[in-house]
Amino acid sequence: MSQRVVVNPIACTAHGMCAELLPERITLDDWGYPIVDGRPLSADLLEHARRAAEVCPTFALLLQSDGSPVRASARASQPAQPTVRNVRRRPEPVVRRQTRLDPRR
């Protein structure tokens, strides 16, 4: 069963972690929001995609299989769309703590 990454653009607040963890499929636009390549994930990318979805602070990155998005991790297996309204009331994100996750730096 092939899976692909999709982003919920309403939940996304441009932390950019996904692009650090899955640069093969995700780049960031001028404003820091992910541009997602929605092609099916190969087996070697799947684990990286799961991790990217897990660490997304707003649960905006989703793994989709057979047309319906499913949350990638146990942590996020809450009712559908739990984050949408909370996101905007969240305190401002900590400034780019995720940079240390990037092995290239």
């Binding site: 960031l28 929001y33 949408v84």
Partner: protein
Amino acid sequence: MTATLPRLLLGVDPDSALSLQDHLDVHGPLPSLGTGGRRLLSRRPDAGGALIEEVERAGLRGRGGASFPAASKMRAVASARGKAIVVVNATEGEPASMKDRLLLQSLPHLVLDGAVLAATAVGADEAIVCVCETNADLHSVQRAIGERRALREGVDLRFSVVPNGYVSGQESALVQHLNGGPALPTFTPPMPFQSGVQGRPTLVSNAETLAHLAMIARHGAEWYRQLGIASQPGSTLVTLSGPVAHPGVYEIEHGASLSSLIEAAGGLSATVRAVLLGGYAGTWVDARSIHGLGLSDEQLAPYGASVGAGVIALLSADACPVAETARLMQWLADQSAGQCGPCVNGLHAIAKTFAQVAAGTAGRGAAQNLARLVLLTRGRGACRHPDGAVRLAESAAQVFAEELSDHARHGACAACGRAAEFPLPAWSDPERTTRSKRTRGTAGSASKLRIGARA
């Protein structure tokens, strides 16, 4: 009945609503109430399916803009689990469109016929008519709903007023509004047909689509297909505006020429520079192409345009197309719900670039920058708002290439200061997006650095 127009607008009086009795005199009873049509609406489990099949044979497509096949949508709702509900979408957030308002104002029973039929076909016992705040004074609808109570049609009809906004009539926005939330689009899935109002399978259908449904139920698919073209049968309502003697709502058959429509409207009262098709988030087509231009999706496709919600807005040659487009672009950017970063930032960046081009301060590379921003914005929102808005920008870049480069080099032209030909509604609220996801700073320099919601 022969293939003549008008169909929907038969017996219309723009100043008052047809009462139930007038309506029945014009169109005759609904199939369920007469004897001939029982096949369509009997209580047999497959009866709803018979109407859906008829709609499919007719080839009816949605008239809210997206042109989605009506039968597929109805079938999806009918086969979803749970008691369905119908939402009549007459919010008409498109400032240049007047057709849904006219339908509710003058022909409410035709729309309600369609709502009752659609509800019966998909197994719903409730239909909610949604209008925007501007049209909240449409007492014709409430009166019509009252009149129908005596018919005991088995479908509970309600009326709901939705806050004004370009995106508040979007399907998922209506669903969220009716569920007690803000009238803003949501991330899908779940699609409304899966889980919509009160978690029920929800058929959200444009008012005009339902009016056509009411006609198809009475006269059949064959009759419906006697007008229009094979790829897009039937008639459609369009709103014609601009320098013509009689602007307003017209019923045309698909494939009718724009010239014939202009002629029907009393002819042009000024030279035309271009026509905006589909809506404010639509496509500019050069006036040189108007001659022989057919009004169907098939014939408009080469221009990147579609009939959409039937907006046909003519821009006179006296106006400055760059200034008009810049104004529309800024308005569309402000109409973003502010929920999706690429939409908010992309549309504002495009609007800003247009304003700079219009003022002659854009500098070199504005055209390339515009093209890049269009690609960066398209298809990246939860709803289709950014896609429509970039269509306006993209088509303007093509059709008004000469004017754009003139402005870029020499700044504002003599016509720039003229009053806007394309009116913007009074309810527009440019403050709305300031509390949203706009990134501070200019495109490029703000790359990756999120400052976000405090802007």
